[in-house]
Amino acid sequence: MIQKKICLIGVPAVGKTSLVRRFVEGLFSEAYLTTIGVKIDRREVEVDGTAVRLVVWDIAGDDAYSPLDLTYLRGAAGLLLVADGTRPSTLNRALELREAAQEAYGPMPAVIALNKVDLESDWALDADRVATLRETATVLETSAKTGANVEAAFDALARYTLKPS
């Protein structure tokens, strides 16, 4: 089976961990996130009849006190950038992180998950901006709460890891 390492990155409280919690098979407790800053889970998806095992590195949130440890991104076949749709700044930071990652390890496929789409009333992202973003990247509005688009996000990323866009 093809295996791919993918990384989940984003600022704290955007729902990264919630996003994967329901969709992955794991061995380690979430305490790892706070101890060593990463928690590893697994998700198997199928891309055009090919089974792909995604080894998901959920990397602890990036903030002023503990900037993202880029070391963990090494060897990643793809990035799932998670932003909070109710906080536009989180998207900016996610894009910055993507740039930092690509600067460190070269271009790598990424899927942008705009999370908390269930919080419609609080949605704060400019539709035009999202549309522009879509031209250069795969952007999915997801909800860890309802599960909307979460599988689609992993599927899309899996596809890219097999066939880099």
Binding site: M1, I2, Q3, K4, K5, G26, L27, F28, Y32, I36, G37, V38, I40, D41, R42, V52, R53, V55, W57, D69, T71, Y72, R74, G75, A76, A77, Y105, G106, P107, M108, P109, T161, K163, P164
Partner: protein, 602 residues
Amino acid sequence: MLRRSRPEAPAPASPRGSPRVSAPTPPDPPDSTYQSPVAHELATADELRRLVLGHDRADLLDRWAEAGPEHLDAAALSDMLPDAVRLRERRDDELGRALEPSIESGLRVSVERDPQPIADILFPVMGPAIRRAVRQAVASSMDNLNRSVNYGLSWKGLKWRVEAWRRGVSFGEVVLHHTLRYRVEQVLLVHRETGLPLQHAVAPEVASANGEDDADLVSSMLTALRQFVGDSFDVDEDDALNAFQAGDLTVWAETGPDALLATVVRGTPSASFRERMAGVLATLHAKHAAAFDAFEGDATPFESTNDTLRSLLDAEYADDSKAGSAKLWILALLLLGLLGYLGWRMWETHQREAAFLQALEAEPGVTVLRTEREGGRLVVIGASDPLGRAPLSLLPEELDSSDVDLRFVSALSDDPQLVAQRATRAFDLPDGVTLRAEPGGRIIAEGDADTLWAAEARRLLPVLGARQLDVSGLVPALEEVIADVEALTLTFEEGSAQPVGMERIQRHVGHLAQLANDTVVLIIEGHTDDTGTDAENQALSLSRAVSVRNAVLPNAGTLTIRAEGYADTRALESGVSPSSRRVTFRVESAGNRPDSTSAQAP
């Protein structure tokens, strides 16, 4: 840089050759629009034929076929065939697919006809593998059997059974827990960059709870941990977390340029195991350099490394350490016992030696001058009299001549017993005489014998180690004493009855009395010469006998003595005769006559 992001990454699977070609049946070159270079060449040739021969080439081919294969350019085809095969192989696996049925049926035919050639071909491949598998299976079952036998019936086995029952685990697990020195439970080959597992081997005895399924998570987490430790402690990732302990488990990691080899070991492996890991990792790098380079998440090319990884899945069982310590105890006890025994033996030997020396000292004729030790042997230096017992013969049975060295010189002993022995041999002793010696060189002769030998014996005394021979203790025989007494004569002055020089007679009578007591009668006979009257002579002769009797009475003891007067009846000559004026002695056995001391007339 990530290889996967390269734009020139392998192109998506392009459509294979023509649908006809993809069919598993062998292609039919003359009739196909073959796409491979070889096919292309064939197609070109076909086209050429068509141009030259027109559209009726099918007819022509038929005719070629009828004419025989030699008209096909076999030589040219044989030149092209290897290249053609290689070219096609490079493009796709159709040739293999095409040949598969033929090869299969060919093999089947060959095996049906005679399986030996195929068996011979396969033997070098299968033989070692089969042997190894059998060896492993036998070794493993022997191990288990040994352990079961070792621990199944012992006191410890019983204890472990109770423990197993108490903890609710299998007996085997408890035995393992107590006897396992180390067991390599998992071996992971991890791609360094991605942290993805390339190959994973798990010991068959290990429960599959955290088995192969979680290899990806474990290897990724291990990679993350190493990165975390490397970052946190600012050490090179190559050196970070090369070993860590988790309960009973030890995780060892060896880092290579492309891959990480991690082993999960229960217990404490020996240091040489790490060297083996490094060796295995180096081998894997050498053999699979290209595969490491091209790794894009597909671990299939690394399946061949599984055997190599499995070679690291070994286990070492401790010799039962407690049994070992018990053995040690037994050994110590044995040693102690041995020491005790040796000590006792030494003490005993000393006792025996002391007793032996004491016996030597006490032995007549043996003198111990000094003792010493030579290499543990007792050396006794001394002198011994050849007449006495040899010192060696005094050696007790428990000591032999290898324990004791006797260095004795011969010497004449002044031991009284030996002096007496020596004298007895040297003197020509009459029967009935015994000798004894006293300290100071005095030999005392005793017994019933005369003392004629004594004069000769005295001359020998100095050479016998003696100075004096005392024969006073000798008692003559009765007959001799009687004869001596009867030979005695005592003469008197004319007309006198006064005895003179009685000492000798008194001594002889004393002897007689001593020997005979009252068994004999001593008769003292008085005599005169024939001068004078008969009456005077009778009175004088009796008077002479009586006076002698009176003189010897003090020596007579219980002896009966009779005095008798014979006047001149036994005068030795006529006339005045001094020799006839005498007394003579006669001894008779008692009871012949009534006891009397009175003078009797003849």
